[in-house]
Symmetry: C2
Subunit: 392 residues, 2 copies
């Protein structure tokens, strides 16, 4: 890639972010009456449910504050970020301090789940806002919320396990991976006295020693507490997009340390293995789930193509190419960029479809819901634009 | 349909049941070492996980005992039924009396869920076994287990609700429907002093008044406690196969009462509306989920074709035809019978695939798992064979 081609690609990501993705969501999703953000939208941007996803509140507030801090200080970005954080603080925290998963339009609780990801995304939002608004209270609250997330995910027995730990103790890739990602956000926004870096090291070592399985040439999603393979449907289940997200977090960590050969090698290894597992050589695109031995998986929608793994793979391949200069990664980036834009991008109404059939045809007109909001797609566009600009 | 055609169709269902479906499962699924039944099988019948589904234990023991009582008294059917019931009693009941959802091969607990369907299927198994073995203890245990199911599903707050009842109280079609189905099984197996019939009446009235919505021309899955429509993604979600299952339960009730015009009309109305909602006019087969207003649904796999709604629709259309003689239902039966056998039946390894893409291509080689076991397909084959034989 020449530097002119890099510049053109950077411009493409910037333009799609600023002129396609953000205008789909804002100001449409901002609930001026009851606070917070809507996220249930159909293809054309009509609101199909007024319920609110707590994950979406944190993720979208993080995005807006990050745009304000790193792109340009548009006042509406900051005030909309504050709008989401206010809703989170006022309505999304249960009496026990844990966050809900879904609330109604007015902010009354609907669902609470056995995860702490609401806490993780709220910590990211608070940290990004603290930086954007130079708000020390928000910085303090971000650290408190991250501590709450850490407590929930490390204190034994606090969150109910998926399988009875007395029969089959298990742990998930999501915990060290999201812990690392939030710690990176806190460090970027609030600085670090060394504690966050040490925690990131611990997370990466746990991923390397317990979830990366060289004898299987893959990253497992669920393993025994000592990292051993659980030969059951859940233990064999691979989530290529999720592992590829972990890969680019690790490549980012290498970059943040000025290029760490060991971390770069780990990130590339994860990307290589999980691309080989997930890329659909018949129809293109990334499969959602595959079994480590090619057996049938319990998730019967396994071969659908979801938008977000493609966002993660676009970032990971670009990051790998910029770190190594290896043309293999430029080709992989071209490949996933082209397939994703050919199939997910909605040329009529903007933004991306979320859910395709295996053959790439659209399975749902849902543009947003409990899981899809203004997050993975704009994060990818912003991250790729910034990666290319920094490199250029 | 001439009586010769009816006889040929009866023979076809009988032959598929006895010579295709049952040989796929038995004796393969019987765990002679640790008790109970395996259910995780791939296309060719290889075991892909030794974990055990508690639903499957009850459902398969019910099937075996029912075969023994209504087809012929093969000793292996009765002893395999006992085998499943023993495993349920020994391993699947928690200290609080509630049943687990998934246990490991040795019967140690893995998962417990916020439903009481494990209890419902175990009550059905015990009742059918009591009849097959003329076992008074099993009859007593069946009534106790049904009482436990009733207690769990009627005592306020005992089972956690999906959405916070203080914000959005809701109830599900599954409760009156499964209550009715289990009550019908208990009555058929153990007799009735009038209490079961009264309970069935209550269930049917609840379905009619609260879940059947003539103004929307459909049966809703989730409504407010007073039956009003919840205009949110969950409230708008239709599950055509589930409602069509309710339809044939109601048609069976009409038949059990010697033909009840009111019940027949209700069952036919549900079948007509939900067929119109669920039948895929483009590719054939029944869609898994549709939104009452045609909006996108949160379940992104909504347009997959699952095996079991086709089993329910084959029974419902045949039952409707035999009750009314209306050629419309004979044509609908032909249509769903043909599509299902063309797409789900595995000509090489027997039994049916469980999960197809919308276009009818196979999405998974899974022949059994947590949800699919020897239940919906053989129940359909047995029920249709018996309906045609009784009518012939």
């Amino acid at each position: 890639m020449t530097s002119a081609q890099q510049q053109a690609l950077a411009d493409e990501y910037r333009d799609r972010l600023l002129n396609d993705t953000l205008p789909f969501w804002f100001p449409r999703c901002v609930d001026e009456t009851h606070g917070g953000y809507f996220s249930f939208f159909d293809r054309g941007g009509s609101l199909i449910d007024t319920d609110k996803s707590v994950w979406a509140q944190g993720r979208m507030a993080w995005l807006l504050a990050t745009l304000h801090a790193t792109v340009e200080p548009r006042p509406e970005w900051l005030s909309w970020a504050r709008h989401g954080i206010d809703f989170l603080k006022t309505h999304c925290v249960d009496a026990d301090g844990q966050l809900y998963f879904q609330v109604d339009r007015e902010g009354r609780p609907l669902r609470k789940r056995r995860y702490a990801y609401s806490e993780a995304f709220m910590a990211m939002a608070l940290a990004a806002y603290a930086r954007a608004a130079a708000d020390d209270d928000a910085a303090r609250e971000a650290r408190q919320m991250f501590a709450a997330f850490r407590h929930l995910t490390t204190a034994p027995g606090l969150l109910p396990a998926k399988t009875d730990p007395s029969t089959r103790p298990a742990k998930s890739l999501g915990i060290p991976m999201i812990t690392m990602g939030v710690a990176q956000t806190l460090r970027e926004s609030l600085g670090d006295d060394g504690e966050l870096r040490a925690l990131i090291d611990t997370c990466i070592e746990e991923i390397r020693s317990d979830f990366v399985h060289p004898e299987l040439e893959c990253v497992l999603e669920t393993v025994a507490p000592d990292g051993s393979f659980l030969d059951h449907v859940d233990g064999r289940l691979l989530n290529p997009g999720h592992a590829i997200e972990a890969a680019w977090f690790i490549l980012e960590e290498s970059r943040a340390r000025g290029g760490d050969a060991d971390l770069t090698a780990l990130g590339l290894q994860i990307l290589d293995w999980m691309w080989a597992r997930g890329w659909d050589t018949e129809h293109g695109g990334l499969l959602s789930f595959v079994d480590v031995r090619g057996l049938p998986v319990q998730e019967y929608w396994h071969d659908m193509k979801f938008w977000w793994p493609h966002n993660e793979a676009i970032i990971a391949t670009l990051s790998a190419w910029l770190l190594t200069g290896d043309a293999l990664y430029a080709r992989m980036h071209d490949q996933v960029h082209a397939w994703a834009h050919d199939h997910f991008a909605d040329a009529v109404h903007g933004e991306w479809y979320g859910y395709l059939h295996r053959d790439g045809s659209v399975a749902s007109g849902l543009k947003g819901g409990l899981w899809k909001s203004a997050f993975h797609l704009p994060r990818m566009q912003l991250t790729c634009w910034q990666l290319l600009t920094r490199a250029g």
